[in-house]
Symmetry: C2
Subunit: 144 residues, 2 copies
DNA sequence: TGAACACCCTGTAGCCGCTACAGGGTCAAG
DNA sequence: CTTGACCCTGTAGCGGCTACAGGGTGTTCA
């Protein structure tokens, strides 16, 4: 299986596949006589695994940690749980700040309907007020 | 006001301030005889504005668009609304995918309590199943 | 006087996870 | 024998910083 076929099969760009190899996530494949990479089913499986983890927004470093378990199946799986827990923690923290962000932007947006000059624009005025540290609709309490 | 004082006053790293200058967000300040940057109150205000917008997760390019309005206060503010609307759109889209992500990770996490070997770990098994494209707890419907 | 230290300067390289070249080689079809 | 699709390596770019290296400046204290 050449790199293009692997890419086709997994939906991954060939440049990305080479990048994963360079980064040590995907083991170096054998080469054909002409120097082309020759992949087997194990590469396909591993690449699919990587992509699924990426879809869960894990870092390549964390994926590396998970991949290591395939090489030592007798190891305690505590570290696997830890990777997932940490990821979940990050996602939840990010979710929290995104929700706050949406609130702030929604409030900000409500300060202007189009048709003013920039000088009169409530949005800009709010942003400037916020920059001054005054209480503003979009940052009502202390800016943490 | 020297760069360190400006940084202190705004809570912005001096390297970041210089970076904003290089990027054209912060106008070049005057220089003291010794070559040190000399900032005035307008720089302080502008930098605070930038940081507040960054706290709203706007890109530097979008902040640039907003800053341009200070130089032409008579312009129609339609573009300001557009920047905020686009940002709100991005935040909402991201929120949606983060919520899905949290669900997937939570479900994944429920597949293993610690104390197994890696081989038996439900999480790893689920991830491999997912990589195979089989229906899995964390990717139940079609992987889009 | 001079040594230590905090601050400032420029320029460059690194982080992440790709993406996009440039400049070449390989191979099958027309 | 030329076109075109594929492959190779190596390098540079994205955004938004962050972290040096290698130097200059200015104050304080012995």
């Amino acid at each position: 299986m050449r790199i293009g076929e692997l890419g086709e099969a997994t939906g991954v760009d060939v440049e990305t596949i080479r990048y994963y190899e360079r980064s040590g996530l995907l083991p170096e494949p054998q080469r054909q006589a002409n120097g082309y990479r020759a992949y087997g089913p194990l590469h396909l499986e591993r690449l699919s695994f990587i992509r699924h983890c990426r879809a869960l927004d894990m870092s390549l470093a964390d994926i590396q940690r998970l991949l290591a378990f395939f090489d030592r199946p007798q190891a305690d799986c505590g570290d696997i749980n830890r990777v997932i827990d940490e990821q979940l923690e990050r996602v939840r923290a990010r979710l929290k700040s995104m929700r706050a962000l949406e609130k702030q932007l929604t409030s900000l947006r409500s300060h202007c309907e189009a048709g003013h000059t920039a000088k009169e624009c409530g949005i800009l005025q709010e942003l400037v007020a916020a920059a001054h540290g005054e209480a503003c609709a979009c940052h009502p309490a202390a800016a943490q």
